[in-house]
């Protein structure tokens, strides 16, 4: 398989791995400084007028996440290079995955809420691209879109919450917000709800969980990285990040405990029911997310220690297990529990990684998973509702033991139950390095939990609870206590469930199958949305130009005339003493053109009559000495007549009967718009005219901009940016009309014998 890795090329195949490894090394080098209580930070002004900065800060929580993201990222990228060896679009895949990793790092390092939001959305988008990577498959596309909509919708709620926080706290700087706290603010309730929506969509809490199992449509390395170890922890990260400013209230405690607990139990039941290994792991990830949310609900040193420890250990073992399932899938061609078996002999290294990771997941000493579980149980004893929290954790953990058995024992240690699609053999080294290393870390750190305590757990706990907090100690033997008893019970019950897994699966199938499916509900919702879009498009965009024009003019007449009438802003009768005969003639010309256009039955005559009106307006500009405006108006009128004549000559007569008909509605509408506009102009003219701008331009035009034509100087110098925007609009309009008009290739003359006519 060595040659297969070469096929992805150095740049796509190995550069991403190098980037991730370098980032990991960088974050490791920051660890001692962060453990000492400092938080290295950089910051640039972004939108200073709104108090928004673009900055990164590496504190304990950020560093823990950053190490997980870059470390697991390096291993996953190494793995992908072999997993998708020779895939024609591997470069694309590597680009998406690397972009995701950088966005995720930005998310956890951001020091400012708005920057955090931008990175949050970047992870959503890259996740969408990665879930839909197998884009030939409609199901994959649908699942990608579902994940995008659910998490994107949650992010919008979160953005609203961020803005509320910014207004409440007077700053978007996260450290400053956390220092002040928001619990006493009158908007606390709204902020909390919006934050929870954002976090619960991203971290897939019940009832917003349904997108996550579907997201497993992505290639397995993506599932391991995004939908288990990193991205779905974004919501948990948000809650942990804002823990100091939001936690401690009844609302926080109950909502996190209930949603987290419900998610953990529901997900572990679902996990037990799955027959696809990857789906089973997907639901155990949900269980872990629920547990993390549950633990964050409390504010004790034990709970936060359990949170940090479980966060680390879950990322390690779950990424390893996903990668193991990827190896199995890659080498055998199936992930079905009912088929797999007997892989211990052909795939010993994979089996070892699976066993170590599963032991950690089941929480068996001396692995790190055991320690995390012990502390979680210990934290339950200190919580506000020990029985509820402990029972929730117990139920979830029992099922975790059983699922760990299903994943790690079934495929490797039991006899094969049928022919496999491919003859199994060991995966290449690049695919083994990740799972083996991650699983071995679970063992090594369990035996020597010191570094985890010093560099990962303690900074997180102190950051969340303040410098006076006491983190719990990570140790394998804490004496015979309640937690140890619960661990024993968990293990015994878990093994019992595993032994009875067939019956358990059937029972769960019956019980959970009867529940309404949120996924089907989602499809119904999307279909309804599309039907609504079709319905309203048919009404609003009927395709008849008459209706569009009438709508626009009705709105104009109602908005202008209506507000004038309601506000009583009607103008006084104008002073007509300075009207000259010249004005009257021009007015007559304009009026005659309009009347002719309204009553003629011929399009070409109507066009010409409108042209007369336009030229009358242009001459009015000349009379009032605005030659530039007049020239432009004249040229535009000419062009419009030419263009419309070209188009309209092919259209039928205005009146199909051939004789003009009276159109009272049109007349009324036209009169309303015309009279309304006239009244507005009269009202404007009766206000004292502020000439300060005119005076400025008259004074500054020549000395400062060296031009005597004030109109042009304004266009190209004083207001050059406006003009630039306008010509950009002109180009866009021309290109769009061209695209609409063109249905054939342009006719190019080819030399003298070409299409010359």
């Amino acid at each position: 398989m060595a040659g297969a890795q070469g096929r992805n090329g150095i740049v796509a195949g190995w550069l991403p791995v190098a980037i991730a490894a370098a980032l990991f090394a960088f974050f490791v080098s920051l660890a001692p400084e962060v453990a000492a209580g400092r938080a290295p930070a950089v910051s640039w002004d972004w939108l200073p007028s709104l108090g928004i900065a673009f900055g990164f800060r590496v504190d304990g929580l950020a560093l823990t996440f950053a190490l997980l993201i870059s470390g697991i990222g390096a291993l996953v990228l190494l793995y992908s290079n072999a997993y998708l060896a020779g895939h024609p679009q591997y470069a694309r895949f590597a680009l998406f995955l690397t972009s995701f990793m950088l966005a995720m790092l930005g998310l956890v390092l951001a020091a400012d809420l708005i920057a955090l939001f931008v990175f949050w959305e970047l992870t959503t988008i890259t996740s969408y691209l990665l879930i839909g990577f197998i884009h030939e498959d409609p199901k994959s596309r649908r699942n990608a879109l579902q994940a995008l909509f659910v998490t994107g919708g949650g992010a919008l709620a979160m953005l609203a919450g961020f803005i509320l926080i910014g207004m409440a706290a007077g700053t978007f700087d996260i450290a400053a917000i956390n220092a002040a706290g928001l619990q006493a603010h009158p908007w606390y309730g709204a902020i909390l709800v919006l934050m929870l929506i954002g976090a619960f969509t991203k971290s897939a809490q019940v009832p917003l969980h349904f997108w996550l199992p579907n997201a497993m449509a992505a290639p397995t390395p993506v599932s391991a990285f995004l939908h288990s170890a990193t991205m779905v922890k974004g919501g948990v990260y948000l809650l942990a990040r804002l823990h100091p400013s939001l936690s401690g209230t009844e609302a926080w405690l109950w909502s996190l405990t209930l949603f987290g607990g419900a998610t953990a139990v529901f997900a572990s039941l679902q996990a037990m029911r799955q027959t696809d290994l990857k789906q089973a792991l997907a639901y155990t990830t949900l269980m872990a997310l629920g547990t993390l949310v549950l633990l964050l609900g409390q504010s004790t040193g034990y709970a936060l220690t359990a949170f940090a420890a479980f966060l680390v250990v879950h990322s390690l073992y779950k990424a390893a297990l996903f990668l193991v399932v990827g190896c199995v899938d890659h080498e055998t061609g199936t992930r079905q529990v009912g088929v797999l078996g007997g892989l211990l002999r052909p795939m010993p290294a994979t089996a070892l990684a699976a066993a170590l990771a599963a032991l950690s997941m089941a929480g068996i000493p001396p692995l790190l998973g055991f320690i995390a579980k012990e502390i979680a149980y210990a934290s339950a004893a200190q919580s506000f509702a020990p029985l509820l929290v402990a029972a929730t954790l117990l139920a979830a953990n029992v099922l975790m033991v059983a699922v760990a058995g299903v994943v790690a024992i079934g495929p490797f240690w039991q006899r094969a139950r049928g022919p496999l699609p491919k003859a199994p053999h060991e995966a290449p080294w690049a695919m083994l390095a990740g799972p083996l290393l991650l699983a071995a870390l679970g063992l090594g750190l369990g035996l020597l939990p010191g570094p985890v305590q010093t560099y990962l757990v303690d900074p997180v706990v102190l950051g969340a609870l303040g410098p006076g907090a006491v983190p719990a100690e990570l140790k394998l033997w804490a004496g015979v206590n309640l937690a140890l008893v619960l661990s024993g019970v968990t293990l015994a019950l878990g093994i019992a469930v595993w032994l009875a897994r067939g019956a358990a699966r059937r029972a769960l199938e019956r019980a959970l199958g009867a529940l309404p499916s949120l996924d089907a509900g989602w499809d119904g919702f999307m279909d309804g949305l599309k039907a609504f879009a079709v319905w309203q498009t048919r009404i609003i965009q009927g395709g008849r130009l008459r209706v569009y024009m009438a709508t626009m003019f009705v709105v104009v007449a109602a908005a202008v005339g209506g507000s004038m009438l309601l506000r009583g802003a009607l103008p006084a009768w104008p002073d007509l003493s300075d009207v000259t005969p010249q004005n009257v003639v021009l007015l007559g010309l304009i009026g005659a053109g309009s009347v002719l256009a309204a009553f003629t039955g011929s399009r070409i005559l109507a066009m010409a009559a409108l042209g007369v009106t336009g030229i009358g307006v242009a001459m009015t500009f000349i009379v009032f000495s605005a030659p530039d405006v007049a020239i432009t108006q004249l040229l535009v009128e000419t062009l419009i007549v030419v263009l419309v004549a070209v188009a309209l000559l092919r259209l039928p007569q205005l009146d199909p009967t051939g004789r003009p008909s009276f159109r009272p509605w049109d007349a009324a509408l036209a009169a309303a718009v015309g009279i309304g506009t006239t009244l507005v102009l009269l009202a404007v003219l009766q206000q004292p005219l502020d000439l300060s701008l005119t005076a400025f331009f008259e004074a500054a035009s020549y000395p400062e901009a060296f031009g005597r034509n004030i109109v042009n100087v304004i266009l190209v110098d004083f207001r050059a940016l406006d003009t630039f925007g306008e010509i950009a609009v002109v180009v866009i309009a021309a290109l769009s009309s061209y695209a609409l008009l063109r249905t054939t290739a342009p006719v190019w003359g080819r030399g003298p014998g070409g299409t010359r006519r």
Partner: protein
Amino acid sequence: MRSIILRTGARYICALMLVFSVYMLLRGHNEPGGGFIGGLIGGTAFALYAIGCSVAEARRALRVLPQNVAVAGLGIALLAGLMAGLDGDAFFEGQWLFLGGEVPGTYSKGALPLSSVLVFDIGVYLVVFGSVATLVFAMEEEI
């Protein structure tokens, strides 16, 4: 229905209008005119050419795609705006260079004023010219 008079006249009038459009463009800073008006005149000239002769002939006379002219104009206008950045001024601030004259370097009698403002106006001219020609050619060809 091509009129021989229009066909013959269009060539000469078109040439005259193009010259006139450039004249309008260049005088615009001090007299009525400018890039927008110049571009409209130039576009109208090609509209006349396309109607009088044929779109194919007009395209051949223009040599490049009109939409490319429009986009190039937008780019030129942007570059003119960015020139100010080189001198450390705010973007789109006019930059002036006076060649010759009684007092070199100032806007005195006989000096040749060169400015980023003129470059910007040339961009406006090309945008308007290209957009009008794009529309006229497309409509003529389709209908």
